[in-house]
């Protein structure tokens, strides 16, 4: 007797008892479905927050400080550019321009008024785009020369471009911010759908234009953003900067250099734990499903004792009988597993997309483009769930199958 015959026989036995087989499978279906949709949703959420994090630039380090002398800040910039040259991919000062007069950004007669839409206006240097993971789609980036000469140029975000220029080329046009005029030299690719009131509504100016735009005092706090070459460079940079400059802030000042990479790692780790926990809880229902299979297989052995006797009388060996019942229970649980996978894919698509919608609403404006992001279970998860359910069928089928095979042919035949 070969595999194919055994499987064919098992499928026949299952289809002879459709309702019962389906009810038996139900435990596995729900179990596998629950494991898959839970784990996939949690993994999906984790992926989502990682994407969100990466959209803002990877390997990012921030420096915030006040109370340092100009010489110290110059020293800091030198440290980043010279001492840490091999570890730092790029760095830029970052300062937000606050439009106190609420004039908004203007192009000719069009105004992006602050009352309705807040335009994020930043000062940065030639590395700013790199460090914040923004890509220029047309025109050019701010250059070192622009910073050195305090050129009155700017890069605009996709939302600003759309609002002011539509189909027209924005390059070479002048927009007005705080009453001053700036030439548009480049446009950033949209990262948040190119919509107003998102991260795409921004303007970046060379940082040397700060004194032109607002009063800058030596006491002002300063921000820097740094991109490390690799993940491993993050900690050495943070340690070097903190070690060198923290003490210079003075008793009234403050200085801190830190990275959110570790928080990100922690978040990832805790979401993995959550997935494990959720999957574990759902796996209990799988176990219950497995016990259901064992129960039904025991009933089936009892019901079919006579059939077992007949089979033995005409030459079935113990291994044939064991094989028959094992394959039968494995087939039930595999069918259940397959249906459960379908349920799990459906469930994770529904639950996952609900969660994403919620998350997107909560993160309004700072959610990167995720149009092609649907929560679907990963292949290892699906394969794992399937193999686990097959294993369940075999484990919980072993006892009934063994019970059947141990029957004496004559005793089995005597049963009515």
């Amino acid at each position: 007797m070969n595999w194919l015959q055994t499987i064919r026989m098992a499928l026949k036995a299952i289809s002879n008892n459709k309702v019962r087989s389906f009810l038996t499978m139900l435990g596995i279906i729900i179990g596998v479905g629950a494991v898959i949709s839970l784990v996939a949703s949690i993994q999906g959420m984790a992926t989502l927050s990682r994407l969100q994090y990466e959209a803002m630039g990877t390997n990012k380090i921030t420096i915030y400080g006040n109370g340092l002398k100009s010489a110290d800040w110059n020293d800091l910039e030198d440290t980043l550019s010279i001492d840490l040259k091999d570890r730092v991919k790029g760095w830029s000062p970052q300062r937000t321009y606050y439009d106190w007069q609420s004039k908004g950004v203007q192009y000719r007669s069009k105004v992006l008024a602050n009352q309705k839409y807040t335009t994020n206006i930043y000062f940065g240097n030639q590395d700013y785009s790199t460090v914040t993971n923004m890509r220029i789609v047309s025109g050019r980036d701010i250059s070192a020369a622009d910073c050195a000469r305090s050129s009155r140029v700017c890069i605009i975000g996709e939302a600003v471009r759309k609002y002011f220029f539509g189909a027209m080329s924005p390059l070479g046009q002048h927009i007005r911010i705080g009453g001053k005029s700036f030439e548009v030299i480049g446009v950033y690719a949209g990262k948040y759908g190119g919509k107003l009131n998102t991260g795409d509504q921004l303007v970046v100016l060379p940082y040397t234009l700060q004194p032109l735009m607002m009063e800058v005092s030596v006491y002002d706090s300063r921000n820097y953003i740094i991109q490390a070459q690799t993940k491993d460079d993050i900690q050495p940079i943070v340690d070097t900067i903190n070690g060198k400059f923290k003490s210079r802030a003075g008793s009234n000042g403050y200085f801190e250099c830190n990275s959110d990479a570790q928080f990100q790692e922690q978040a990832q780790a805790s979401s993995n734990q959550l997935a494990l926990l959720g999957g574990g809880v759902a796996a209990i229902s799988l176990l219950v499903g497995g016990i259901g299979i064992m129960n039904i297989m025991l009933v089936s052995v009892t019901e079919r004792t006579r059939e077992i006797g007949i089979r033995m009388a005409i030459g079935a060996r113990r291994r044939d009988i064991i094989g028959q019942f094992l394959v039968e229970s494995a087939a039930v649980s595999c069918c259940g597993g397959l249906l459960g996978i379908a349920l799990g894919c459906f469930g994770s698509a529904v639950i996952g997309n609900l969660l994403i919608k919620q998350q997107t609403a909560a993160m309004s404006g700072w959610m990167p483009d995720i149009e092609h992001f649907t929560v679907l279970p990963s292949l290892p998860l699906v394969l794992g769930a399937f193999l686990f359910s097959a294993l369940l069928g075999i484990i919980f089928g072993l006892y009934p199958a063994n019970k059947a095979a141990k029957l004496q042919p004559v005793d089995a035949l005597r049963t009515q």
């Binding site: 007797m1 070969n2 595999w3 015959q5 055994t6 026949k12 036995a13 002879n16 006579r306 059939e307 006797g309 007949i310 089979r311 033995m312 009388a313 005409i314 030459g315 079935a316 060996r317 113990r318 291994r319 044939d320 064991i322 094989g323 094992l326 004496q408 042919p409 004559v410 035949l413």
Partner: protein
């Protein structure tokens, strides 16, 4: 492990001295207890190859127990049983399965067909366990069913057939692979007399073709069709005489 593609157990190496050689065979249930039952008590019997033997006895005489032991479906409590010269007592369960599969064809009073399978599938089942390729076993099974006059009922399930037809399916199952021994336990017990006669004629024909037949019955009239009649009562052999089948 559990599956090998064609894994018939090694056939027992039968010799041609005696088909059945039973010495001092006993089957005792609940031995040593108050409810001890001696179903068979010190039976000795020798059957040569090719014989049409009838074991005759009233119900409760132990004749079915004897057939179960002779058919390797049950194990004796005491005594030696040699089938074709081989000691059955010492055989492993898988070897016994192999003997039941290849050497013995069973016909039971209750037909013992598997209800979920069609006539053809029932007949094919022993051949499947033997590991016979599909085309060959299909051919053998259809031939066997045609021989018992059921060529037109291949795809009917037992419940869709009359008792006589079911018993003929069982016969087809027993003879499809042409085993050297047929054991029939009250094969006509559940049938009307016409169907019963038909079954008996088929058994006689098989015997004429060289098959050894062991028929178990309580029916004196039926027993006379055999070559030799062994009568059992309360677990003992009380007579051993030739039947009319042997004389004619």
């Amino acid at each position: 492990m559990f599956f090998r593609k064609h894994s018939p157990p090694p056939p027992a190496e039968f010799d041609d001295s005696l088909l059945i050689d039973v010495q001092h065979l006993s089957k005792i249930y609940h031995e040593g207890k108050e409810n001890e039952v001696r179903a068979l008590d010190d039976i000795s019997l020798a059957v040569p190859w090719g014989q049409f033997l009838c074991i005759l006895g009233q119900s409760g005489s132990g004749k079915s127990t004897l057939m179960n032991i002779l058919g390797c479906l049950d194990i004796p409590t005491y005594g030696i049983y040699r089938l074709g010269g081989q000691p059955v007592n010492e055989m492993r369960p898988s070897t016994l399965s192999g003997i039941r599969n290849r050497e013995i064809g069973f016909i039971f009073q209750g037909f013992n067909l598997i209800p979920a399978l069609t006539a053809l599938e029932n007949v094919e089942l022993p051949l499947i366990y033997r590991g016979m390729p599909k085309a060959q076993r299909r051919e053998l099974s259809i031939t066997a069913l045609e021989q018992v006059g059921l060529g037109h009922r291949l795809h009917h399930r037992p419940a869709e057939m009359s008792g006589g037809q079911q018993q003929r399916v069982a016969i087809a199952r027993a003879v499809a692979a042409k085993p050297p021994i047929i054991m029939a336990d009250e094969p006509t017990g559940n049938l009307d007399s016409a169907s019963g006669r038909e079954i008996m004629e088929q058994l006689s024909a098989l015997n004429r073709a060289g098959t050894s037949i062991i028929l178990i019955t309580h029916d004196n009239h039926l027993a006379e069709m055999a070559e030799r009649i062994v009568t059992i009562q309360d677990g003992h052999i009380v007579s051993d005489r030739p039947g009319k089948g042997g004389l004619s």
